[in-house]
Amino acid sequence: MKSSLWWLAAFILMVSASAGRATAQQCITFSDDLAAYTDESTDGTYIYTSVAIDGSEEMIINPTCAPYLPQYVHTPWAYNQLSIPGGAIVGGWESGTPVCPDCYLSFTNDQSIAANPGVNVDFEWQVEAICSGGGGFFGTDGFVGIAIAVTTFHIVTVNADGTGTFKQACPGTTRASCGAQNLLGRQPTIWAEEYQLRVTIGGSGPICSPVGIVQYFNGPPAPFPCT
């Protein structure tokens, strides 16, 4: 009889403890509109990348749990690493100022690397929003391939309005990965080099963005190979 009572007591304790655990699992509820954004750009010599995390957040605590909760803080983290295969590596993790759990998060990690035209630069990035009490509650990552693309043009026509029509003229066996077949440029010059930023995200085709055009007469090391 006594044994049965012990078993009954144990059963009741288990049930009540399970109920307590269910309550504790709902101690914290998150709501946020956090976002990640990456940017790549170049001035023709350096490649610049930025990784940003930005957004609002709310940490709602069940009042019955409050006695258990320490003073939590939330910290935005951004990983921005640039690497040239077999060459230089720059960047890594950086974090913003830890703030209160209901505070707004906004942080950017900027990096840059010197890269010659045509050299592929690997851009690896990641963002995390981390609660000191429980770990990450927002996170995402990605990989971007970057290169400075150059297209060489040679003048074919001097136009009446003083402009010049240039035609793509890649030296030797080099090929342009971004440039158009023709370019409308200024006069008087013979050669034109169009610099662009070539970006590849995931499996999609490259996106080319304008950087600048350099026009000149003959002279070494011109004309540059296309990349």
Partner: protein, 176 residues
């Protein structure tokens, strides 16, 4: 018999209490799913709202009124991608500087209030902040549309639309 029952009881007790203590530490399942409900703009740019895209773009390229040399070079490279004429680029840089100071001020003021509220066990008005933030982005967008040439605005808008491929956003949904 009694001792067996006692041992069983103690064993159950030792199983139950650590489980309860642990559940307080790992309080939210949201911690275990940080990548849940995220829209990838590379796959679905149409699902990134314009206002969110403008906000992220403006946050990324705006700099303080007295930027360092490195910040200047970076911003020049970022703005060059749009393909704007020189005059439009200068106009954009001025608007970006204004946006930067207003955005930073908005966040700092809110975070100060939120920190005080949190310490008191009170809630800050986050919906009001989101509204003010979105209004600031919208007004900056309107100001840019008015200040840039028609071609400059078309180039900027097309650029921001393209930039959605570089954005990942959380669908604002309460997660437990």
């Amino acid at each position: 018999m009694r001792s067996i029952a006692m041992l069983t009881f103690l064993a159950l007790l030792s199983m139950v209490y650590p489980a309860q203590a642990q559940s307080v530490v790992s309080t939210s399942s949201a911690h275990e799913h940080p990548q849940a409900n995220i829209i990838d703009g590379a796959a679905h740019p149409e699902l990134i709202p314009d206002l969110t895209a403008y906000r992220l773009y403006l946050v990324m390229v705006s700099k303080q009124s007295n930027p360092t040399d490195d910040q200047k070079k970076r911003q020049e490279a970022q703005l060059r991608k749009i393909g704007l004429q020189e005059a439009d680029r200068k106009t954009l840089a001025v608007q970006l500087s204004n946006f930067y100071s207003e955005y930073q001020n908005l966040i700092q003021t809110f975070n100060q209030k939120a920190t005080v509220a949190w310490a008191r066990g009170e809630r800050p008005d986050i919906e009001s902040l989101r509204l003010q933030r979105d209004q600031l982005v919208q007004s900056t967008r309107d100001a840019l549309k008015a200040a840039l040439t028609a071609n400059g605005w078309a180039l900027l808008d097309a650029h921001v639309q393209n930039e959605k491929k570089h954005m990942k956003i959380r669908v604002k949904e309460e997660a437990q």
